[in-house]
Structures are given as structure tokens and as C-alpha cells.
Symmetry: C2
Subunit: 545 residues, 2 copies
């Protein structure tokens, strides 16, 4: 006789065990460690949030303090491994296997721990890919999440940084996993500003010892934007945004795209592009987008997460941002990813290293930093079927094979700080992948998915190349005197310019002499605060006044 | 002075207007028409559910009865245009623009209405693509949804067919749109089996005059599976599933894949494949999968929607299906799509027409039937970064460019009923697209995304082809005596077999003489009921006993 409800039975047992430390769903914070030790079982698959920005750190710190004799061999699913206790779990013998998406701040330590055999990596994913597997072959037994507020029935208010909480909660709540949530506050139901996740999905809530950790990942201080970023931004606006009439888009984070955001109300306005380009956005609330929003460029923004300091501003601009009935920002990574894949015309982002075939990676040394979300935005989704002007402008193929293409644009300066070339014959990722025993090199965006590369030298229109040789030549033409750029041949380049595979600033009527900071709509964080009418509250590390 | 809350102000006005016909959130069903006329405004963008299976038909019928002098120029977003009143809206002058994903049963009428200028089509999308645009450039002003039960606070229980309700609700609830929901029943909060969507997202609920319409789209009667489907299934199991060790997968709907499902516990078992292949599934609860589930083949199934008659069975198999705290099935199209794109190794489905380059379409005459979900499942998602054995088995590229590939398998019989060839030089879709003024032909799956084609003649391993010429030759080799197949050259075929681009049944040790109905684990709907231990309740149209 087959037993078909092992997960349900196990959950019932876990719930009984946990109830010793809770009143209804509300856990005594002093007993959280006991609850985790009794609810979680050795060998369990445990998802810990672990998002791009917010961290369920009361839960992760408490889990890392558990007794390894009681709790061990855990298989952790952590989308962003960004806190030291995430790895302490492995050093203390509580966990031994890790599936992840990103490990920015812990990337050196994780590489070492993999080499030492302390951590066994399942795979490195993109964010949504890791969540996708929670519905297929990595169903979690227990999930540890965070929220701003909870009521005693488990109804959750996630605040502006909803990010991944509903998705991970769903993977557990609807497959007999246990959902445990830390909240900054436990309040009366009537005091909840809105319900982001219904209480019927949540098993236990605990008031955290302090508000969950949140990193302002999407704030770029305009002070650090110099003439080279501004020149690249001018080239991108003329050579890509204007040329292809890009209406809907996603900006990766970085000073290159921040410069573009700050040039729309100045340079973009002078070119008469307002209302014609960059109207619908999928991105986190970048503070550097404030001047463009205030100038009436932006019709809508849907966000993967929030951004520290931007909550009052977003709440005051509800025609632009997605907000709830309470008036505050609502984000949702999975839906923003869906929008970014299927509803927008362009992804543009920066890269640290690009090879001669336009493969790119942010892995540039012994770090195991992972992928995050760029690979999902940075490819042409073949499942798209609706047309737009920009998408059709890159159409290719004949007859039944004819279709448009998403603009996937990489921005890079030919040399990074310290004279390190960005364009290289072979990505460091190839060697890093080998050393870490990965089945494939950890490439962020594949060259054949890249439609344009923008540098301070010009634009390579890679999508127009009919052969790999043309692609390489077009890329080399904008790669300056890097190893890749030095392969460039002047006569060949003239041909590529004539055929429209390469454009230099003069071809785009970009006046390079104008590329200075006076063109920025805001030159400091203070300027952004002023643009926002005092609604933007920069985090303390960005204040110097 | 810019006004930043036009949507919020409009929503407040709409809510006030609607409150004349409701007590709290609960609308008097007799006043629904009045409410719609006062809440919706001319020119509004209105999303009507309209899913693959379930239909908010009380709302759509009532909307179609509204006064066109009061309500007109609506821009409708309907993922599945499947009911006559969906088009009556246009004939009556209430709506004039339509964005859609699928129009199966209405495909002839819609084509005619486009030609007559009665309907202006925005675009034809895939399901998730249309939802994605609701977060970008097609934010709805009002959404009309359906649920099994609601309480007076608007908390919703969607039952097994959650499908798209949470996604469309989110697009409106978090951007100052109005959310109106029909429920089969309005019950006390304590009687709700679980909450699928929190009441704080919902503005109005109305008890429907009869339960929402639900179509059993995924039920295939084994009685109609003949020896050719069985032979193709044997070839697919040996030539694709076994060869590539496919562990996680999605089956399109159709008799071909139903045959595979019914052969796993017989032919698959004889081959010793149980536990080695087809363990994790993303698909609706196909009744024909019951014998494989009962035989222990299936570890997990995550579903886009439900299926009529399968609810008691799914609820009794919670280790396999995703179910809620109440014990009943939970589905979610967007998350199943995410899983289908990023977490599984293979999509396999049938096609009605395939051209010489393996482009395929289900558009085979003057119908404007749309895309549904197949293009999203039927492409290689370039944003995937984790590896699996099957995915790596199709690896291609060198150095940084090396990566795996999703198996995208098309099944087809060389000739359809009536001697119509499946393999043709040019898809009918090319002409249909031209006639309908579409910017591109409505191709379902592009040839360059297809890795394998399986026919009763054998398997074409298209992913192994190094040139378009090789692809065409490999495809022709399994295309029988169709116009495409007749181009095949016997000596060339021998080379392709040697090189592994083509395999015939004898190459795969498939004994064609065994291909008969005795190999099916169930030969009728009654057999499926028996396999389920009486838990499967087939819809009446599938009962003949």
C-alpha cells in the first residue's frame, strides 16, 4: 500500500513540535532556536530568504546558533548568500549542501569553503531559476522568510521590499512545507496596512530582535559619474535609444546606466526624445531616475524589489510606481522578471569583462559570485510573440522564421581602473569555472544574445553581423587598445561603419566635447533629494551633509 | 504642478460609484450591470478572465449586456477568447480593441470580425506575455475575475483552478485598478477552505448566477489512441527519454503525449526506466498520467491549472501534487511557466503542421487561434544557468560559449486525417499572417528552437545538425512521403543515421510489431477511473457507461 501523504504527515508532526514554543502562530522569540531545532529535521531542504536586498537575519542568526548534534546535513536554498552566518551554517556542520543564485559579499569565502569541501554546491542559478526549481525538484521542507509586519493569524505586510517572499512562501505553503516568518513587528489585524501574503499560507511568525537587514543596492551617487560615463551615456542615447525608438526597458545597476538616467532630462530633452523613448520601465526604484520622473519622462515602473530611502517618494508618485491600497510600493521579483522577459524591448547593463565574441561575466578573479538576475534579462526570449517598433527593428530571418529580437546591450569602458582591460581574449570565468569544478564556465550573458556593445569609442551593432567574423570585427572596432581592440584593422572598420555594424560618436552626431558633468540633471545625492521635493530619504552612508 | 495620483483619484471615484450597488464589498447580483456601467468608464482598459480553462462568464455576460451608449471604446485584455459574449462585446460596440493570447473556439469568428474592422487587434501574445504587459504598458483599469468562494471581506478561494487569478489581480490591486470578482458562493470567513488571494486586493465580489464555466481541456480518452500514436510513443521513450535520461519535463496536451503517459508503466517499466526518467513534471493534472502516478513513476507535478474531475484524485495524492492547507490542488500558471522555462529539461508536444526547417504552427487555415503557452515552453531559455544530465547532453559551443540546451521535441504523424501532409514546404501560418495584417507569421515554435522531431518513421536529432542543410535533411528523413519527406535522398539518410542525426525504429531497438493497444496501461476512461481507485470523476461528456 503506497503512502501518498508523507509530506503532510511530516508537516503535522512538525507543527505539533513547534506548537510547544508558540501561542497560536506566534512564536516566543526566546524560544525560536528550540522551535527551529524541533521543526526542522536533519537532512531537510530549507529555503532561507536570502533575497537580493532583504535578509531574514533573525532567523539565519538563530539557525546558525542551533546545535549541530540536533540539526545537521541541511540542504540550504539561499538565493543571495550575503551574510556571514549563511556560511557559518556550513562551518558549524549544520548544513552541508547549498543551492544559490548570488554570493556577492561572501564570494571569496564561499570559494574557499568549496575548495575545502565544507560546502557542497548543488548549482549556481539565477534568482528565478532557483525559485522555479522549488516547484520541481527542490521543494523545500521548511522556509524561513521575513516581513515588515505580521498579525497573529500570520497575515503578512512585506512593505516595499516584497521581492521573493510570496514565491518562496507559495512553494512551501502549497506542498506541505512549513512557513516560518520573522516580522519587524507583530500588530493587530486592523493595523496591517495591507495584506501581501494571506495568513493561511503562514505557519509561524516571530517578532525579530531588530528590523531585517536591507541593503541599498541600487543607489549610485552621481558624484562618482565622470565624463567617460557621460560620453557612453550620450552614445547609448543616440545610438541605441533614439535609433531604435526604445519605449520599454530595464536598466541594470551601475554608474553607466545611472548616467543615462541623469541625461534623459537634459541631453535627451535637447534631442526632443521625451515621450518618444524610455516610457515604461522594469527596475528597482533607482534614485538616479528621480529627475527623469519629475520631468515627466516616465509613465510606469514595475519593480523587482524596493530601495532604501525611496519609499516616501514612490508612495507620492502612484501613477508611476506600483503601490498597494495603503499607498506604499509593492514589488515582486518573479512578476518583474516576467515583465522584463516578455514585455520590454531592451535590457542594458554594464559588464566587467567581455571576450572577443561578446561573452561577458562579472566573475573576474577567484570569486564565486553567481549570477543574480542579469542572465534572465540579458537574453532574447524566444517565447515572445507580440511586436513593437524596437523589437521589429532588429527583425531577422525569412518567411516563417522571421521574428523580432530583444535589444540586449552591454556597456563597458575599454579599460577599468588601474589600466585593466575590459576586453580580453578569454574570460577569467573560464578558469574560475574549471577551478571550482563547475560543468560550464560561469558566463553572465552569452555573446550571441548580445545585440549591441557600447563603449566610449562607439557602438558595435552586433545583431547586424552575418558571421562570427563580422561580430568579432565589429566588437574589436569599439574595444580601444585592449587585446581585443588591437586586432582591429582600419580598412575593415571603415567597411563596418559603412555597413552600419559600427558607429563612432561622429557618426551618431554625439559631440564628445559636451561630455562633462554639467550635463547631469543631478550631480549629487543632495541634488536628488532636491529633485524629489524632499521625498527621497537617502540612507546614512550616502549623506555627507 | 504635476498630478501624480490620477489613477488613485479615479479609483476612489469608481469605488464611490460602485458602492451604490453593494453592501461593503458584496455586490447585489441584480445590480451588477449597473455597477459595471458606473465603475467602468468609456475607453478603459479592462482585463477579463478569460483563462485557458475557467471563465468569469457571469461578468462577461453581464458586461456584454451593458448599454453601449454608456460603456464603449473599451480596450479588452482577454487571455483566452473562448466565449461568444467575448466577441459580442465588440459587435455591440462596447469594446473596440482586443489584446489576447488564444482564441480556440472563437478563432473563425474573430478572423471575420478583424476583417470587418469590428475588432482591432492590439497583438496576439502567449499567456504569460499578456500578463507581463499588464505590469508594463497594458496596466488594466478594471479587472473581472472568478473564484470558487469569497467571503464578505473579499478573501478568495480559487479552488483547484487558480490559473491566472492572482497575477491579474496583482496587476490591478497594486496599480489602482478596480478588482471585481464573481464567486460561485459567498461564504463566512470561517468556511473558506483557504485563502488564495487576500481580501485586501479585492474591491467587489458578486455571487454568480451559476458556477463559472470550466472546460476539461486536458482530458484525452485512451480509446482514441491507436497503433501509430503508440509507435511514436515507443520511439520517443527510447529515442529521447531514455537516450537523454530526461528527468524533468512538460507534456503538451494531445494523444501523442497521452500515449507516452500510458506507456510508462508498461513499455517504460519493461525497459527498466522507472525512477530513471520522467520523475518531475510541470503540467495540468492529465487523467492519462494516473497509471504512471499509481505505479510510482511520478515524484512531483506542478500545475498551470486544474482539470475537471481530477480534484478528488489530486487531493488524495499530496506528495505528488501541490495542494494547500485544505488539502486541495493549488495551481498557478505564472509559476508553472517559470518552472517550465527554468527548472525542467524537456518540452514535448504535438504539432499540426511543420515546415522543412521545423518551424511549426497549429494555425492551418483561416483561423486566428493564437498561441496559448506552447511558445514559452517550446524554446530554449538562454537565461538558465544550472546543469542537469539531459541539458548537458545537448551541450554545444566551445570555451566561454559552451552551454547546455533544453530539449524541445515536436511529435507529429507524417499525414493527418484525410491524407493531409503534416510536413509542408510553407506553413499556412505565413498566408494567414499576411491576410490578417500581422507583422509576422503566427509561428508556434521556431525551427531553430526544436531539438528533436519524432514521427512514426523515427527521430530527427536536429540539435546535432551543424548546418541548415543538415537540419533539413534530417527532418526530411523522418517526414515520410510528404512534400518535405520526398526530398530525402537514401544515401544521404544512411550518412545521417551513421552520424546520429537520424534514428529509425530498428536503430532504437523499437519493435514496431509490439505497437498496439495492448501496450496501453489504460484503454478507456473507465480504466483510468479504476486505476485511480474511484477517485477520478470524469466529466459527463467522457462517460459512456
Amino acid at each position: 500500500m503506497t503512502i501518498w501523504d508523507t509530506r503532510r504527515t511530516a508537516k503535522a508532526e512538525r507543527m505539533t513540535a513547534g506548537s510547544a514554543y508558540s501561542t497560536g502562530k506566534v512564536v516566543d522569540p526566546a524560544k525560536l532556536g528550540d522551535l527551529l531545532q524541533d521543526v526542522i529535521r536533519p537532512g531537510d531542504r530549507v529555503a532561507l530568504e536570502g533575497d537580493n536586498q532583504k535578509q531574514a537575519d533573525f532567523l539565519s542568526r538563530t539557525l546558525a546558533d542551533c546545535d549541530p548534534n540536533r540539526l545537521n546535513k541541511l540542504h540550504m536554498l539561499i538565493s543571495s548568500v550575503s551574510r556571514s552566518e549563511h556560511l557559518d551554517l556550513f562551518e558549524r556542520g549544520i548544513a552541508d549542501k547549498l543551492d544559490l543564485a548570488y554570493a556577492g559579499p561572501q564570494s571569496v569565502r564561499i570559494a574557499q569553503m568549496v575548495e575545502d569541501g565544507t560546502v557542497q554546491i548543488g548549482a549556481i542559478h539565477t534568482y528565478v531559476e532557483l525559485y522555479a526549481r522549488m516547484f520541481v525538484d527542490l521543494a523545500p521542507d521548511v522556509v524561513l522568510l521575513c516581513a515588515e509586519q505580521a498579525d497573529r493569524d500570520g497575515n503578512l505586510y512585506t512593505g516595499a521590499n516584497t521581492e521573493d517572499t510570496p514565491t518562496i512562501a507559495e512553494a512551501a505553503a502549497f506542498h506541505d512545507g512549513v512557513v516560518i516568518v520573522q516580522a519587524n513587528e507583530i500588530v493587530d489585524t486592523a493595523s496591517l496596512p495591507r495584506v501581501d501574503i494571506p495568513g493561511s499560507w503562514v505557519d509561524f511568525v516571530v517578532q525579530a530582535d531588530r528590523p531585517f537587514f536591507l541593503e541599498p543596492l541600487f543607489t549610485r551617487d552621481p558624484r562618482h559619474i565622470g565624463p567617460v560615463e557621460i560620453l557612453k551615456a550620450m552614445i547609448a542615447i543616440r545610438g541605441v535609444y533614439e535609433r531604435h525608438q526604445v519605449v520599454s526597458l530595464n536598466h541594470g545597476v551601475g554608474f553607466d546606466t545611472a548616467a543615462i538616467e541623469l541625461l534623459l532630462p537634459t541631453y535627451g530633452e535637447q534631442l526632443g526624445l521625451k515621450g518618444r523613448i524610455a516610457r515604461h520601465w522594469v527596475l528597482n526604484p533607482h534614485p538616479t531616475l528621480i529627475p527623469a520622473i519629475e520631468s515627466g519622462w516616465v509613465e510606469s515602473i514595475h519593480s523587482f524589489g524596493g530601495e532604501s530611502g525611496m519609499n516616501r517618494y514612490a508612495a507620492a508618485r502612484p501613477d508611476v510606481f506600483f503601490t498597494g491600497a495603503d499607498g506604499s510600493l509593492r514589488s515582486n521579483r518573479v512578476l518583474a522578471q516576467l515583465a522584463g522577459q516578455y514585455a520590454i524591448d531592451m535590457f542594458i547593463g554594464s559588464s566587467l569583462q567581455i571576450d572577443a565574441e561578446a561573452n561577458s561575466s562579472t566573475v573576474t578573479d577567484g570569486r564565486l559570485s553567481g549570477f543574480g538576475g542579469a542572465p534572465n534579462m540579458g537574453h532574447d526570449p524566444h517565447g515572445r510573440r507580440h511586436s513593437s517598433a524596437a523589437w521589429l527593428d532588429l527583425a531577422h530571418g525569412e518567411g516563417a522564421s522571421r521574428r523580432g529580437r530583444k535589444l540586449v546591450v552591454q556597456m563597458a569602458q575599454t579599460f577599468r581602473a588601474g589600466g585593466v582591460p575590459t576586453f580580453v581574449e578569454t574570460l577569467d570565468a573560464v578558469e574560475v569555472g574549471k577551478q571550482a569544478g563547475m560543468p560550464l564556465p560561469p558566463v553572465m550573458i552569452y555573446g550571441d544574445d548580445v545585440s549591441h556593445v557600447v563603449t566610449e569609442e562607439g557602438v558595435a551593432y552586433l545583431y547586424k553581423a552575418h558571421s562570427l567574423d563580422d561580430r568579432r570585427a565589429a566588437l574589436a572596432a569599439v574595444a580601444g587598445v585592449t587585446p581585443v581592440g588591437r586586432t582591429s584593422d582600419a580598412r575593415r572598420v571603415e567597411g563596418l561603419r559603412r555597413d552600419g555594424l559600427v558607429a563612432f560618436p561622429e557618426d551618431l552626431q554625439v559631440e564628445t566635447r559636451l561630455a562633462d558633468r554639467s550635463l547631469l540633471a543631478a550631480r549629487s545625492i543632495e541634488d536628488l533629494v532636491a529633485w524629489s521635493g524632499g521625498l527621497y530619504d537617502p540612507p546614512s552612508q550616502f549623506r555627507d551633509w
